[in-house]
Symmetry: C2
Subunit: 199 residues, 2 copies
DNA sequence: CAAGTTATGTAGCGGACGGTATAGAACCAT
DNA sequence: ATGGTTCTATACCGTCCGCTACATAACTTG
């Protein structure tokens, strides 16, 4: 019967995720990770393999716990346009409050050009986000609450791109007027002209 | 009379800029820089002070040579709406072709949270970009070629945020449909409804 | 008790990091 | 020729990097 672990895995993964999120992958050392996680190097390597393996665990865990959860919650709890508005509102609020930004976006920028697995993951998650917007846009257009004058695909793409931009600005220029204004305009473009007849 | 330098400054700065642009600051070592610049370490330090000093030189030079030049060119050569359309078109084309993305955006993400000077620089350059959009939007609204139904400020903010997003996607998800679609929608929102009376 | 399995702590590995010391080189002026 | 100034090359510094060796610890089973 092996010796039991002396740490709680969720707790140490939270600590590691936070460091990677703040500093990026290259600028986060294994010693700093160990200190934050309160683990010696052999314990850390024993439990997670190596720096890269730990990073992958942190990233997977982060991704399952943030964007997907938000999409699920909003998609199931609100009408289409409200879901988009709430999504953007939450992203702006988070971006103003948390200078870490979004780990996916951070990783996309840092590792995307050099790491095929990361680029692949970014593609998949980007598609999920776009998919959420597209579903909501189509449903909203069908019920006449979202402007049907332009393709929902392009709207979804602009919203997706906007979210990426907001998340970079979170780290470097979290200006209330800028972020709120961008979201306000993005939402405004959804509104059908007053002349749009109900379907 | 001192010994003349054995290198061309522009050439070595180009080489260094390229490395920082591709890899980011933390993941670029002084040895790699030296190799790319074909300078020994003492020569590099003698000429540029230290890694940080070299980085600052590269960044200043990049910033003067890219966004400002583009804004100047488009602003003086095209009508307002055309200038915005061309700007976005060029950003999309560059983003599809060059996986380095944009050094300002890369730096914003990597160093923005930890380096007040960088955050300050990002703020200033973001304001310049926003200023370009705002001038063009106002002029376009005044001549009736851009929708005056929403505040030009919010439009400028969304366009600015979109550019940041496009530049992150350049590194991680340079998908033609996504980037072109986002730009197409951003441009479409500028168009006044057919009912908008000319001023 | 011993055996087996995995976890943890101290100490250390080889190599990479940003940067420096020092000697000699390249140039002009006297 | 010497003197003065800055530039460059080789070698090196102290420290940090990701990771490992090895002894001991913690647990269950027989």
């Amino acid at each position: 019967m092996p010796r039991p672990r002396g740490f709680d895995e969720d707790t140490v993964l939270d600590a590691a995720t936070d460091l990677f999120w703040r500093r990026g992958y290259a600028a986060t050392s294994v010693r700093d990770l160990g200190a934050a996680m309160r683990l010696s190097a052999p314990s850390l390597y024993n439990a997670f393999g190596d720096k890269q393996g730990l990073f992958a665990r942190c990233l997977d865990r982060y991704l399952d716990g943030t964007m997907r959860a938000r999409i699920r919650r909003l998609e199931s709890g609100k009408p289409p346009r409200r879901a988009i508005e709430a999504f953007l509102g939450e992203i702006v609020a988070a971006s103003l409050e948390d200078p870490r930004g979004c780990l996916l976006v951070n990783v996309a920028q840092e590792l995307g050009p050099h790491d095929a697995a990361i680029a692949s993951l970014v593609a998949a998650r980007t598609a999920e986000l776009e998919g959420f917007f597209l579903r909501a846009l189509r449903a909203g257009q069908a019920e006449g609450r979202i402007d049907a004058g332009l393709p929902a695909e392009d709207m979804a793409r602009l919203l997706t791109t906007t979210v990426f931009g907001l998340r970079v600005l979170a780290r470097s220029r979290p200006d209330r007027a800028l972020l709120h204004g961008a979201a306000r305009q993005a939402i405004a473009m959804l509104i059908p002209p007053a002349k749009e007849p109900a379907p």
